[in-house]
Amino acid sequence: MNMDRNKDRKKIVGVFFVIAVVIGVFFLFPDLLPAVDDAKAPVHTYLSDYYIENSLEDTGAHNMVTAVLADYRGFDTLFETCVMFLAGVTALMVLSTTAKVTKPERSRKERLQISFGSTVLDIAFRIIVPVIVIYAFYVLVHGELSLGGGFQAGALLAIAYMIDRIIPSFNSSLGNLKEETAAVIAGVGVFIYILTGLLPMAGSGNFLEYGKLPFGADTAEQIRQLHGTGILLIEIGVVVCVMATIINILEVVLERTEFDD
């Protein structure tokens, strides 16, 4: 008991010391960081004006965030997606030495009959899961107009899978993806992204230059629509990768914990 109190007291002193130091630094030197709406800060003078004025004409996307993420900085988003894929593979590798928990096998016919465990949940989830999937596709397709994009849609699809996997008892869920399959699907997502990048090279352009996709475009209006098509193809790759990575990590952890039902 004495050791606990000493440790607690040291933790309290340590936490307050860190908070006091951080707040003190930012009060004593108020010029350390520029103000948020300062018009002369380096963040605002170099590229932001170009993006604000020209992003609608260049890409045809009303949502400037998606235009910058998927069109002007598409190369960075490619490596972000790669990092997500690597996170899934790393989780697979790190936890592969722990033994899996053996469960009794059930045939597919038995699995189709066992349901969520009570009548209310049966009907309720048959209503909610399609709503979530439709909302995920809505968020994916409307990435250029309003909030959304690939990452949010992929996470929503993974939530729909998670609902079906966790809430029924352990062996009676319909969707049952193995962890290796999920890792492969994440790789397919990154592959779709890279394929969209390689296609403009067939139309004599650079990597990830949507204006020269070989779909046939002459006027400026059609080039703007090509930019929109390129953004949509990239977001499909991102959706597949994000959904498969989240499902991968979920399956890796679920297979190795014991549930008592």
Partner: protein
């Protein structure tokens, strides 16, 4: 934007906030797990629905208004489902009532 619309919006939002606050006070003061679950499940669903009705009155009947109604519909659907799931798990794990021995549940 007439004055009557603003008045009704404020009335509905204040009513919604009142129900949400009372459910939170219920969590802190009820003696037992099942009563606390009852307080959250009812209070939060009603509170969110009233706030959404207030916002819908303010917004009017266009696209954003219909989206607000959809949010209210999904939230009214998801509240009781969540309460039901937690209740089933607590029943299986034998959370105790307030009048049995060995203290209260969770």
């Amino acid at each position: 934007m007439t004055e009557i619309r603003c008045v009704f919006t404020v009335i509905f939002i204040i009513a919604g906030l009142f129900f949400m606050t009372s459910s939170v006070i219920g969590i802190l003061r009820f003696p037992d797990f099942y009563s606390r679950l009852h307080a959250i499940g009812l209070g939060q669903s009603l509170g969110i629905s009233l706030c959404c009705i207030g916002l819908f009155i303010y917004q009017g009947f266009d696209t954003t208004g219909i989206k607000i109604l959809l949010v209210m519909f999904v939230s009214m659907l998801a509240g009781p489902i969540g309460t039901h799931i937690v209740d089933r798990v607590a029943y299986k794990e034998n959370a105790k009532n307030a009048d049995e021995k060995e203290g209260s549940g969770c």
